[in-house]
Symmetry: D2
Subunit: 345 residues, 4 copies
């Protein structure tokens, strides 16, 4: 297998390199960047010294098509919208890590992203790559829209309850917390160490572009889901997302039943680990790995269910899931090259 | 004014020292500890070198009564239950920073704290010291139960909405986040740097002892409030609490109305700062100060109100509020000795 | 006393505000900025809400002279060089927090700062404001060059040994470590949280502009001091500097003698605290305060003396020392308004 | 290959698990612990859920010998002293990660560790496993004393200069900085998050047990090396060591010559990466990997050479190097199973 990465200079691209470098079925991968043709990745990422020595290449779709079978586009929002159809036209398979092909309705995209949406045909064709809950066989897919980091954590946590209609769809609240790599590579006042260290920030209140993404998927599972509440916090840590989710139970439930539901739902999914009853996951327990760890609680006093899920935002929340999808597109074991033990502590 | 601190070796006690050292109306204060009579505070707290040189004293209630007018008990839960009545018997005024005199119903205390409750007479007499919403004049109070850190942040944030009956009392969800000083001075696996750094933990799910404290106060304001959902997260930072709170609006509201309500509610309260519309506070913006900063948002899509409040857990969440209450008990300006500018960055 | 701050939008300026806000002898201070005339400080520093409400003013030297007695210039290097003489011409006293008036030799400045040096007359007139070792009475000074953060920590630590000729001047090595506020307010890749958190960087190897500053002062104390080794590390913390310093003893010494020398040297200096023998300071023990804590060790195996000093880089390393100098210039107690207890933890 | 880990509940043991889990030539490994026979590793290390499910086993040397070929002893100092000879007696090969078999002179051990030294025969037989500078073929070794974390970073940095006699042996100063995992798994006041976060501590001044270890190796390379200065600092980060080292040049040198020497010395060593001239490594650039990155500088002003080296203390500083040594003992490529790309950011 030969693959290409477009956008190697962002954190998603660099994490793809970390994974593919050790992937047994990828014989070659090349790195491309719009802005830094000819420069060395090691200038911005000296940790890659002796690992990646070839210079970054320009984004030449024909050349990429002649050398690779599949492309990861780890580009900022707005770039993939135009680039992806060009790559597909060359016969390449594409896994897009940006948000450009996730929202089926181009109006939603334009409203929440405030940019021009991607090609309507490909918006319709794109498979939303929440690997554990795929609705089509990826072997037939040409374009995978890789899910956002928050939606991955939220949807894996909510899926069993929504699919079993165990919660009141109008009561869903998702309180999400992320490490700072979620804000990307570019320095800004928000991510300046002096002001982010020992600090906790809430941002994009009621405006985060992952709101419509989560709603779209939940509604596809249960049409009664409409608007949800989703809030996002920036924490003084590098990696990791925790979503703490609340919803009212619609019928009498108990913790054993809920716990069994989750164990059963994910029994064949290597990367989703359900914690023992009463034990809740911390973000560091999945650091550097592709796991999503989930716990569930039920409070009889309020008849409210709480679900807690954690992921590494750069792995299961981005590049790890992208490679998991690649494995499926290419007919391989979904775990191949992804069995990283979490780096702890 | 002469005051004594019992429990000077904990973080609450040490923060009291930081404040009282600079308080213009406190001429003397003494430090007492059950376990370390005769030792020096500077052994555990070398930052106090040249500031506190006298050794720690034993807890001799008669001696304290002969030297001080007022005592802060910054002792662990379970100690104050017995100690406070002895101090009161000697004629001392007491501000108790532990949780022992907050819950009016001793059964609640025993259930949530799993310890023996304090004296029934004093449980009844104790004034709950949420300074901005006091229901009696502290000048007449002998015992103030100083609020918990989380309840302070949550109650200051919810008060205007609850008192104006603007939210559905059955939909209140409080997602709380704290820095690690909230877990106290004693080292434990949970607070071990190697495992807490770059990590986010959720703990005491549906079991936190601040749940009944918040419910008790909210119910006293609006009898329709019953059980609430309150969850607690431990973040890799030293100080700071943020509570992100959600509730459904009961009637048509808009953001201007809500914002004005908050500005109006706290217009005479120096330590509560309402942010401009659309601006949300970060915990570091109150670091080392007695401020509680609050923002409010309204989402028309879900008809849900969100309130965000931040405090320094050791200041407004403990020792700062305790001194604010002391000022009121002694008939002074509530801001005296407390006008610390936040330490930023 | 009326004072003005030029450069209020940087960290040095904001720390001056924190101090002056609580200073008993400063009745008024105004905030000035070259770039943000008319805007509000609270836009970049919301922690100042309700504390500083007036907008930033332009830098109009005549207007400042009509309103203030003394000015702090907390401006970037290169700005003060030209601005300071203009302020002095108006009869203002100036305390310059930049590096522009510290190096007596303009060629040194141009070599190490790579900028045009300040006015020769004022370079000569400026008093280097290392408060504990001043060589002239500040009451007569018009211009104080406030020392750099690293030089303050290093010079306070080395002074007793150098002045007593106890170390071989050719063996001085200063290994310095700083928190990230030392790099200022502007975001950059170096201070981006995602790459600075959980990381340790060494920077400006053999090129730091504080090298000639330290050498100039040491040489003025002991002409045998020439070039020293001084290295600088950036640590994942907000505030704090530690300098670990090494030098060979020139004669037989022992730890008691060294410890007594330090106790004696600083016995009248409130802000310098000598630790007990065998106890070494941590940076957090001076956090938010104007203290410099120092320890000394002697290793018989190598005949080498080690000195460890810590400061808060924004306090004793910048704005705290500046106010200490202001107090002296105005004939007040040097501790006035500066007796902050360290914020711990 | 079948291997056993004794001491799986410490950080060294857990890091061995992370490596061996992905090692292509290790078919089985078992986990042993003195204190927790029968309990699950996942109780203390939930990140291992679904990865390690079998319970911890007691330390039964005969049983281990019947099941494994090689044992890692990742036990605290003082335990290996007695345990290692018992394992060797059973015919097992042993890689000891404790300090018990590093110091050849038992008196040195007893002085610096304040414990009883190991068996004299095995002290003599043990091969010091600084992999890049091994003096015997590990294929013949029965016992490898795996180097300490600090000595690994220091010795790899100093070796080329010492071996080429380019520095004055009496001027060596090593200023070392470590992340908190270096202090191990047990919580203590020193490593309590509230007091370690945003803090920098210096510890064990002139008393660190790695001093004689570094001196022993340096002296074996160049008998003129005697006592060195080595100081240790604890930083608010999880992993990573940087050693900043200083020594006077003995003859005229220049930076090109020094840089070439280092490039040449390590040209066949995959895990040692020499940075380009003028570029210095940060600890995060080796996070989670087995690399040691090194830079060198020369200051003509002082005739002093500076070397900077960084490692991940749990990888190249402990378990990574241990597996590197295992590979060599078993006649495999030294890089096998160790080609982890650093986790960045």
């Amino acid at each position: 297998m030969k693959v290409a990465i477009i956008g190697s200079t962002g954190y998603g691209g660099v994490e793809l390199i970390r994974i593919l470098q050790q992937h047994p079925a990828v014989s070659l991968y090349t790195n491309h960047s719009s802005s830094q043709d000819g420069s060395l990745l090691t200038e911005g990422y000296p940790h890659l010294q002796s690992i990646i020595d070839q210079p970054l290449q320009a984004i030449d779709t024909k050349k990429i098509a002649s050398e690779a079978d599949l492309v990861f586009t780890a580009t900022p929002s707005g770039i993939s919208a135009k680039l992806v159809p060009e790559l597909l036209k060359e016969g390449l398979k594409v896994i897009d890590l940006s948000g450009d092909y996730r929202l089926k309705n181009s109006k939603d995209y334009e409203q929440w992203y405030n940019k021009e949406a991607g090609d309507e045909h490909w918006l319709h064709e794109a498979v939303y790559g929440l690997t554990e809950w795929l609705e089509t066989d990826l072997k037939d897919a040409k374009l995978v829209a890789n899910p956002g980091c928050y939606p991955t954590a939220a949807l894996l946590g909510l899926a069993p309850l929504i699919k079993d209609r165990l919660i009141d769809e109008k009561t869903i609240i998702i309180d999400a917390k992320t490490g700072v790599t979620g804000a990307g590579k570019n320095p800004s006042p928000m991510t300046h160490f002096s002001e982010m260290n020992d600090n906790l920030k809430i941002y994009k209140v009621n405006k985060h572009q992952h709101i419509p993404e989560i709603e779209q998927v939940l509604t596809s599972w249960d049409a009664a889901v409409g608007a949800i509440t989703f809030s996002t916090h920036l924490l003084p840590m590098t990696r990791g997302i925790m979503t703490t989710m609340y919803a009212n139970a619609t019928e009498e439930v108990n913790i054993d039943q809920l716990h069994n539901l989750y164990k059963e739902s994910y029994k064949d999914d290597y990367f989703v680990r359900i914690r023992e009853k009463g034990i809740f996951p911390s973000t560091k327990e999945v650091y550097g790995s592709n796991f999503c760890d989930i716990s569930i609680a039920y409070d009889e006093r309020t008849n409210r269910i709480m679900i807690v899920s954690v992921i590494d935002n750069l792995m299961k929340g981005a590049s790890g899931q992208a490679v998991q999808n690649m494995n499926k597109m290419l007919g391989m074991e979904e775990t191949m090259g992804l069995e990283f033990v979490p780096v702890f502590p």
